[in-house]
């Protein structure tokens, strides 16, 4: 069971990364307009760079 010493921290860090990504997404307002974002992807206009 020594492998747990590496595996548990590894899994927690990976999970923590996911949580950090969620925080970042939330902070940068990515959950503000789910309906609009799902449509914008269909438009050519934002192909080069996303609208600010």
């Amino acid at each position: 069971m020594d492998v747990l010493v590496y595996l548990i921290p590894a899994s927690l860090i990976l999970g923590g990364l996911g949580l950090a990504a969620f925080f970042w997404a939330l902070k940068s307002d990515q959950f503000d307009d789910p309906a609009g974002d799902s449509r914008r992807i269909l438009s050519d206009e934002f192909d080069d760079k996303p609208k600010g």
Binding site: S11, L12, L19, L26, R39, R40, S43, E45, G52
Partner: protein, 730 residues
């Protein structure tokens, strides 16, 4: 509630700007060279709309940035600080997008945004922690023992305790508030279960026990937060959208002094002041006309379609719209003494007398909360007795009882259904403002309508324009073009649609309160009231053209709102009792009632009479859906079992109503009733499912057979089942 009471809201949708120095918003915005404005775009729905609106706005020089939010049907625009909002609205209208300016409500909306953000953050943290602890628990359930199990429990504790401290705060806060007020609400058993589960588990872990409920405590938090988040999201979207549509407001009056007229805040006008009211603006206070003649549009206040001619000595009421000529009025009543304000107090009385509706969730919680506490306590006492004082065992079983009965399913039962139902209604152009509006809608058996602005568009239209001789029409069109009167507006619109070219006239002058006169190659021509041009007045709304003594009448009729006919037919077929209560004159109301086949109708009703009628129906045991838009409807809207106001309604009416119809199609009211019924059915089914599940699981928990694995399984299955059932609300 009255127009004069809330100086923060702005003028009519077309001409709103921020009232300078009035609110925190204005101050904050005044600092930079640009300011942010928000536009409501009720009709946008697709990718092309997003691009159309954003690119369309960017064409204007005053616009710096524009971003559309499709979820909220809103655009956030940065414009030059000095620039007005009006050009944006006009430009969007020209492009074919309906747009309204929003104002002070934005602050509240961003508060709601923050609350939603916060909940989402707590939900994310709870989800993360739940998944990790679940993984560790699976290892324990599948047979990890001794040191490994203890290690896993400790790690779970390390994840769970901070998570509970952070994510469960909304429940703790609400439970504390309930307990302080010596009440029990749903959050009391929830908080107790979470705390007991966490506490028990820490103790068990510290003595190397077999069972820890960290996963249960976390999944409880997660599922309930999910319900809470759905709830918040549905209501904040609807509420902000409803609050955001700007409305009629009269924050300033033009006071006449020795140095000419001065812009004065309404609050500073006193009785006896002389005020100037320009054509096109609202009457700020109740008063008497000292000088001038004009016509007043009273549609919003009384429901009358036809403008009323007034002259020196007549009285005017706050909230009416001055149409044609400038007026000098003496203020007779200001602030709380105005008729407008007495309407507001009528609303307050109606709201107070409205029987307090107990939501289904409240009723369920009232039964549920005491029962659960008693059961857990009984289990504890019984097991103390059976095991002759083994506190650890008895407490463990009491905790298991609390966890397993805990209302995951109950917590999701209502929000999941109302999210689905409101989402469907939102797509049909209906905003649900009040949380229990859907449930109440399901109980409706009587529908009461207002006429002007609700069943009808509230705007007159020229009758049979093709029957009018072209020469006369051309002269009338030339006369009408310069006037702001609603009848001439309708005439011009009909003329343009017919392709009529206005005749060249000279010396066009408007006689406020009477009509317009001009010269047509030496011959005098006049367009106006029957008495003025010397015509015999017809019983319908009409204006008369006089060409050198030869009279041509132009008659007008109010157009029915789209979907009004279909709605009335469907309502009758489904056995609803329908009534029409209007403040308009008898012939006008009778015509509409006949056209729509409404048997019970009443004309010339005062606001208080409308409210009394609705109350009388309620006392008969009827559940009334009131649909109305005017100030004269607000008291009735507030007093009815459930109420609906079209988006074109006045602010006060929209505030009083439980639902707002954004779509111009009135027949969506029917969808609302149908979806309300189906939503109520789903909610009851969900409660039934939750109750069945509790009936099975409580004996298991009380008898001490509930393991953490069983608790986790039961909780997840019931939550998933309830959510799936909610999706059927359509």
């Amino acid at each position: 509630m009255s127009a004069t009471e809330t100086p923060s809201a702005a003028a009519c949708p077309g001409c709103m700007t921020l009232p300078a120095g009035n609110t925190a918003v204005a101050k904050a915005l005044a600092e930079g060279p640009t300011r942010k404005v928000h536009l409501s775009l009720p009709s946008i729905h697709c990718t092309a709309c997003i691009n159309g609106v954003e690119n369309g706005l960017m064409q204007l020089d005053i616009v710096h940035t524009a971003r559309v939010n499709l979820t909220r049907k809103r655009a956030d625009v940065t414009i030059d600080r000095e620039a007005e909002v009006e050009p944006l609205l006009d430009h969007l209208c020209a492009l074919g997008y309906e747009a309204y300016a929003l104002d002070g409500a934005t602050l509240q909306a961003s508060d709601a945004d923050r609350a939603a953000h916060e909940l989402l953050m707590r939900l994310g943290v709870a989800g993360f922690a739940m998944m990790n602890v679940m993984l560790l628990s699976v290892a324990v359930w599948s047979g990890a023992s001794d040191a490994t199990r203890d290690l896993f429990h400790w790690i779970s504790a390390a994840i769970a305790i901070p998570t509970i401290a952070f994510s469960s705060q909304p429940f703790f806060k609400s439970a504390l508030m309930a307990l302080k007020a010596a009440r029990l609400n749903m959050d009391v058993p929830i908080s107790l279960a979470i705390l007991l589960a966490a506490g028990m588990s820490i103790y068990e872990t510290s003595v190397s026990g077999h069972h820890a409920y960290f996963d249960a405590a976390l999944s409880l938090t997660f599922f309930l937060l999910a319900g809470r988040y759905l709830d918040q999201k549905t209501r904040s979207t609807a509420r902000s959208a409803a609050a955001e549509l700007a409305a009629m407001e009269v924050p300033y009056a033009l006071k006449l002094t020795e140095d000419g007229h001065v812009r004065t805040p309404i609050a500073e006008v006193v009785v006896g002041d002389t005020l100037l009211v320009r054509p096109g603006s609202n009457i700020p206070v109740d008063g008497t006309i000292l000088k001038g003649a004009s016509e007043l549009d009273r549609a919003l206040l009384t429901g009358e379609t036809d403008p009323v001619a007034i002259a020196q000595g007549d009285t005017v009421t706050a909230g009416e719209v001055n149409l044609t000529g400038p007026l000098e009025i003496r203020a007779d009543a200001v602030g709380e003494d105005t008729v407008l304000h007495s309407l507001a107090s009528l609303v307050a009385i109606a709201e107070a007398s409205k029987s307090r509706y107990n939501s289904l969730a409240d009723r369920a919680a009232k039964i549920y909360a005491p029962v659960v506490h008693l059961l857990a306590l009984c289990a504890f006492i019984a097991w103390m007795y059976v095991s002759s004082g083994d506190v650890r065992l008895a407490l463990g079983i009491a905790t298991a009882t609390l966890i397993i009965t805990c209302p995951c399913a109950l917590g999701l039962a209502v929000p999941a259904v109302s999210t689905v139902a409101s989402g469907r209604l939102f797509r049909k152009g209906l905003l649900i403002k009040h949380e229990t509006a859907l449930e109440r809608l399901a109980e409706v058996d009587t529908v009461v309508f207002d006429k002007t602005g609700t069943l009808t568009a509230g705007r007159p239209q020229l009758d049979q324009p093709s029957a009018i001789p072209a020469t006369e029409f051309a002269v009338a069109l030339a006369l009408a073009e310069g006037s702001a009167h609603p009848l001439t507006g309708a005439l011009v619109k009909a003329g343009r649609a017919q392709g009529i070219v206005p005749t060249d006239l000279t010396d066009i002058t408007e006689k406020p309160g009477y009509g317009i006169e001009a010269k047509w190659g030496g011959k005098p021509v006049r367009l106006g009231r029957a008495t003025w041009v010397g015509a015999h007045p017809a019983p319908v709304t009409a204006t008369y053209l006089d060409i050198d003594g030869q009279i041509t009448p132009f008659t007008f009729a109010d157009r029915l709102r789209i979907g009004a006919k279909e709605l009335l037919v469907a309502l009758r077929d489904q056995g609803y009792q329908v009534q029409l209560l209007s403040g308009d004159t008898r012939p006008a109301v009778e015509a509409i009632a006949k056209e729509l086949g409404i048997a019970t109708w009443q004309a010339d009703m005062l606001p208080a009479e409308k409210a009394n009628r609705v109350n009388a129906l309620r006392d008969e045991g009827r559940r009334v859906l009131m649909v109305g838009d005017g100030l004269n409807d607000t008291a009735a809207l507030a007093g009815a079992h459930v109420s609906l106001a079209p988006a074109s309604a006045l602010d006060a009416a929209r505030v009083a109503a439980d639902m707002v119809l954004v779509s111009p199609d009135l027949s969506h009211t029917l969808d609302a009733i149908r979806i309300g019924r189906s939503a109520k059915r789903r909610i009851l089914e969900n409660f039934g499912m939750a109750a069945t599940y509790n009936m099975i699981s409580i004996p298991i928990a009380v008898l001490g057979f509930a393991s953490p694995l069983a608790a986790a399984l039961a909780m997840s299955t019931s939550s998933v089942l309830v959510s799936l059932n909610a999706l059927r609300a359509r």
